[in-house]
Amino acid sequence: MSNGVIKKSHLIPRTTGGWILLIYILFCYLMTQWPVLKAVNKAVPFVLGMPFVYAWLTFWYILLVIGAILAAWKVWKP
């Protein structure tokens, strides 16, 4: 860094852990969007008593929450 010019962007991870986390979060998030959502958008079969698409989304939301906790524990600074 000199004269206020940042050599490395803050939008891009700088560690392997950061990259793994970014890919993990993006992957889980994309599982809740089109076109995956279109493919799983159905009520049956029920999973654990829940409609299929509802159970599918719940599963990925839980993985996202786990990802956030891991991020705070291992990657995010300070």
Binding site: M1, G4, I25, A68
Partner: protein, 512 residues
């Protein structure tokens, strides 16, 4: 809409409101007469208090009333909420920690403080303040509408919607004026706990009471209304809401200013990791309520809610008043009131901060005492109460659409915010940001269903390709910002160093 248990239910809600008032009074006793304490609790908020004020502020009347109503009318579509609440949670760290560093170092109080300083423009300060204030008013009105519905239904129609709206919002304004943000935080702490427990118990209670289990609710719907068990909105709309209800709401002053108040960035990091748990999973029982109501209506167990009560937003109170004992209904509707009040107080407070700080003190170039600023703050809380109550009186639409519109407006500040707090090689410029916000806001107004209709836009131009108008606004906003930034003057080297150099040092250390 006769309801025999209304005196008991209403009495419990009133006791709850008195409790909130007492908390507000104690905050008033602790208030120091200076603007940092009135607007930012002297930047001393710890993890627990900040956790509950963030989640309670984010989850408004929308969370407990509208979510149940949308599940009731459109089904599992509303479980899209998981995507936007997750993003909102982690933005507490991704944006919040950076805002905190800069806010603490340079004494920022409002969003415009930060943006005007980076882009070196008083005009931008005024523009940001006006955009935030304008798009916040309908969001405040939403809380008033929610309170009106709760009082109206809980009283069996004895208290008219308008009276509930005005009386409850006035109480919120009173404790916000007196105790400042400290009162808001203390009451949010109570309300955040209450509303989460209330909706979980209410959700399980109504499902078990009417159908024996949550699983039976789903099976009944599969039989009588299967369309509610899959998503039937355009996927582009689903995606739009994910961005608007996360980035858009975080850009609003009542959440942004919370990040300034943290004790340290470590607190914000763990809030970023853990708030998604609360933010996402409050919608599970809301789904139970809405879907149970839909199954019950389809089976003829209760009357159709929109026809009977005038709005889908009355789903939760309508179901409770027909299935639960009065004391139980009172306790849980107090929880729903908590959700509305905890957001309304924060929004009134943020509106007052934006007007007092950005328009009165900074642009008005007022060199005034701290007492005068706090007095101004109180006056503007009262003005925000009047604006929200008047708008709520006219019921400008359903809560879901109004909140989406409000978030879509604030979303137009995203390019400006990214440019200021996320260093990257290409620099956004003052002129580009100003034009981006103006163009993005106008497009949002014109292309969003509801307001666009009223402004005479052709129906097929509204929410084009299924995208919310605010997403189209953001897209054009970014294009304007990138193109104009290539040709106009960048912030000075000194300012870039002040912001980006400082963030580099704080986040990655001096050696990088």
């Amino acid at each position: 809409m006769e309801y025999a248990g209304w005196p008991i239910a209403l009495a419990i809600i009133i006791v709850y409101i008195i409790l909130v008032g007492i908390l507000g009074y104690f905050s008033f006793k602790k208030l120091q007469i200076n603007i940092e304490d009135y607007f930012l609790v002297s930047r001393t908020a710890g993890f627990l208090i900040l956790y509950f004020t963030i989640v309670a502020t984010y989850h408004s009347a929308y969370a407990l009333l509208t979510s149940c109503g949308v599940f009731y009318r459109v089904g599992v579509f509303f479980w899209a909420a998981g995507t936007w609440t997750f993003l909102t949670g982690i933005l507490t760290y991704l944006f919040g920690a950076r805002m905190w560093y800069l806010g603490k170092k340079y004494g920022y109080i409002t969003p415009a403080d930060l943006l005007a300083d980076y882009y070196e423009s008083d005009f931008l300060r005024g523009l940001v303040a006006i955009v935030l204030a304008i798009f916040l008013i309908p969001y405040m009105a939403v809380q008033a509408m929610g309170l009106g519905y709760i009082f109206n239904v809980a009283s069996g129609g004895h208290i008219p919607y308008i009276a509930g709206t005005w009386i409850l919002l006035f109480i919120v304004a009173l404790y916000s004026m007196a105790g400042g943000l400290r009162a808001v935080y203390w009451t949010d702490f109570l309300q955040g706990i209450w509303m989460f427990i209330a909706i979980w118990i209410a959700g399980i209670f109504v499902a078990v009471k009417l159908f024996g289990s949550v699983g039976n609710v789903f099976h009944t719907l599969l039989e009588v209304k299967p369309q509610l068990l899959s998503v039937h909105v355009p996927y582009t709309y689903w995606f739009s809401l994910g961005i608007i209800f996360s980035f858009g709401i975080v850009m609003q002053p009542h959440l942004w200013m919370r990040y300034y108040t943290a004790r340290d960035p470590h607190t914000l990091k763990w809030l970023g990791a853990t708030t998604p748990i609360y933010l996402i999973f409050i919608y599970v029982p809301a789904g139970f309520v809405g879907l149970t109501a839909a199954a019950a209506v389809a089976k003829g167990m209760i009357p159709e809610i929109i026809k009977t009560f005038g709005s889908q937003d009355a789903t939760l109170p309508a179901l409770l008043t027909r299935t639960a004992p009065a004391w139980f209904t009172g306790i849980f509707l107090a929880g729903a009131s908590a959700a509305a009040m905890s957001t309304a107080d924060s929004q009134m407070h943020a509106f007052s901060a934006v007007v007092t700080r950005d328009l009165y003190q900074k642009l008005g170039k007022k060199d005034v005492t701290q007492e005068t600023l706090v007095r101004q703050g109180r006056i503007w809380v009262f003005v925000s109460f009047l604006l929200a109550a008047i708008l709520a009186t006219f019921r400008p639409g359903i809560i879901f659409d109004i909140v989406a519109f409000s978030g879509a407006g604030a979303l137009q500040l995203l390019p400006a915010t990214l440019g200021a707090i996320y260093p990257f090689r290409f620099k956004f410029t003052r002129a580009a940001i100003i034009w981006g916000i103006i163009v993005g806001s106008i497009i949002t107004l014109l292309f969003t269903k509801g307001l666009g209709n009223k402004l005479g836009m052709p129906a097929h131009w509204l929410n084009p390709w299924g995208f919310h108008g605010g997403m189209i606004g953001l897209f054009v906003n970014f294009i304007v910002v990138f193109i104009l930034s290539a040709f106009t003057e960048k912030p000075s080297e000194e300012t870039i160093k002040k912001f980006h150099g400082y963030l580099e040092e704080m986040i990655y250390g001096k050696e990088s």
